[in-house]
């Protein structure tokens, strides 16, 4: 729906702290335009913090975060949309009006918003639920609305923070297939954070394992057989290191 191109993201020697505690030090990471990069790691390793830094919601303690080839990230922007685990919809707005908000912020004229919002909701399989309030929808449906709202904003990078982490296994599977499907025609780079290795293997073009000292390992999907075991081993090592520290 937009001619805007996917965005590259770079982290260079980045240190981040969350609530005064350092969670990441010396992280180097390049995300190429249009790829789906999945970041896995044990909880507390700073996956979400890293996403907030890419989104421009959290200033770095050291190093540099840049987007689109060297442009420093200084604050949030429509280019880099963040998708949350749950409860990110405005509860007083219906599904349609939540999507319309993204369209309004993109500058879509008022009279075109309704039709476009309904089209986005249809795209995520929510035809007929447009006038429901978030609390009248299931957790999976709410995440569909959030996905529609994010896509409607026309971001060049989508930063997803365990978006299906609060869903039951069956709904999660459906949502993973839906996401893979809608991303095909969205010209956006995706950074997807999860602790679920199978989700990483399903969605990621590239998978990065984050440990206490930054990137512990990086894999390309289908790079070699037995990747799942390799990642699990890497995660095991990462967990052990963290416990030793």
């Amino acid at each position: 729906m937009s001619e805007r191109s996917a965005l590259t993201l770079h982290a260079e020697g980045v240190a981040l702290s969350y609530g005064g505690t350092p969670v990441i030090t010396g992280l180097d990471l390049d995300v190429t335009a249009g790829e789906v990069l999945v970041v896995v790691g044990p909880s507390g390793c700073g996956k979400s913090t890293l996403l907030r830094a890419f989104a421009g919601l959290l200033p770095v303690a050291a190093g540099r975060v840049t987007a689109g080839g060297g442009v420093p990230v200084t604050g949030p922007s429509r280019d880099r949309a963040l998708v949350f685990q749950d409860d990110a919809l405005l509860p007083w707005r219906s599904a349609r009006r939540n999507v319309e908000l993204a369209l309004a912020l993109r500058g879509v004229p008022r009279r075109e918003r309704r039709a476009e919002a309904l089209a986005w909701l249809e795209r995520v399989g929510l035809t007929g639920k447009a006038e429901r309030l978030p609390r009248e929808l299931s957790g999976g449906m709410r995440q569909r609305v959030q996905l529609a709202r994010t896509l409607a904003a026309g971001p060049r990078a989508i930063l997803m923070d365990e978006p299906f982490g609060a869903l039951d296994a069956q709904t999660r599977g459906t949502m993973q297939r839906l996401l893979a499907d809608v991303l095909v025609d969205a010209p956006a780079t995706v950074v997807f954070v999860t602790h679920d290795v199978d989700e990483a293997l399903l969605l990621g073009d590239r998978i990065v394992v984050l440990g206490p000292d930054g990137v512990a390992a990086a894999f390309r999907r289908d790079e070699r057989p037995g990747l799942r075991d390799l990642i699990l081993a890497e995660l095991g090592v990462a967990v052990l290191k963290e416990e030793a520290a």
């Binding site: 429509r78 963040l82 919809l89």
Partner: protein, 254 residues
Amino acid sequence: MTAKLVRPASLAAALLAWHVLTAADVRLWMRFDRFPGPLDVARELRRQVQHAQFYEDVAQSLVRILTGFALAAVLGVALGIAVARSPWAGHVLQPLFEVVRPIPAIALVPVAILLFPANEQGIVFITFVAAFFPILVSTRHAVRALPLVWEDAVRTLGGTRARVLATVVLPGVLPGVFGGLSVGMGVAWICVISAEMISGDFGVGYRTWQAYTIVDYPGVLVGMITIGLLGWLTSGAVELAGRRATRWLPRETR
């Protein structure tokens, strides 16, 4: 169904008890021999509603309370948001609020008389001060309790700070704000009536106090009942507006 029977029955029982106690001139430590009964009060009320003065007093009190309350609502919400969201506004205003807040609004009567050219503004000022603080404090708490994720979501969709204020903060604080508005309306009535009793020359409070000074006890009770009804109506209006504005809340917490 029970509510429809019990509620009027409760009121009727209270009226009956009142009638019996006063008609029998009961003197059991508490004395009802000179206290007007419901029939005396009803007679007095019927007499008063035939005179324009009754309506002028009601209108006067309503104008005062609604002016003070509206000012308090606008400033209380605006400054509550400012103090909660801007550290700078917090540093400038918070100390002032903390010092002035414990002063009962009615204790400001001498200040109001000194400051304002006419009684009218003074009474509105006192009503305003009374309603302002509950609204300010509840707004401040509501802003601080807003989930950060709503603001983060709107900002990463391209929303500016002003946009966040209009689309997230203002609608998001409404449930908390209406709590403050309800309390504010209650104390505003207390203060408008007290202020009228002290320094008014019209209004339901003034008329009630007048009746007391000329030993017209049924008149006093008519004044009290009028205040009660007006207070009930205005609080009801605030409650209704609140329920309409926060329909999105789950029913349990509404």
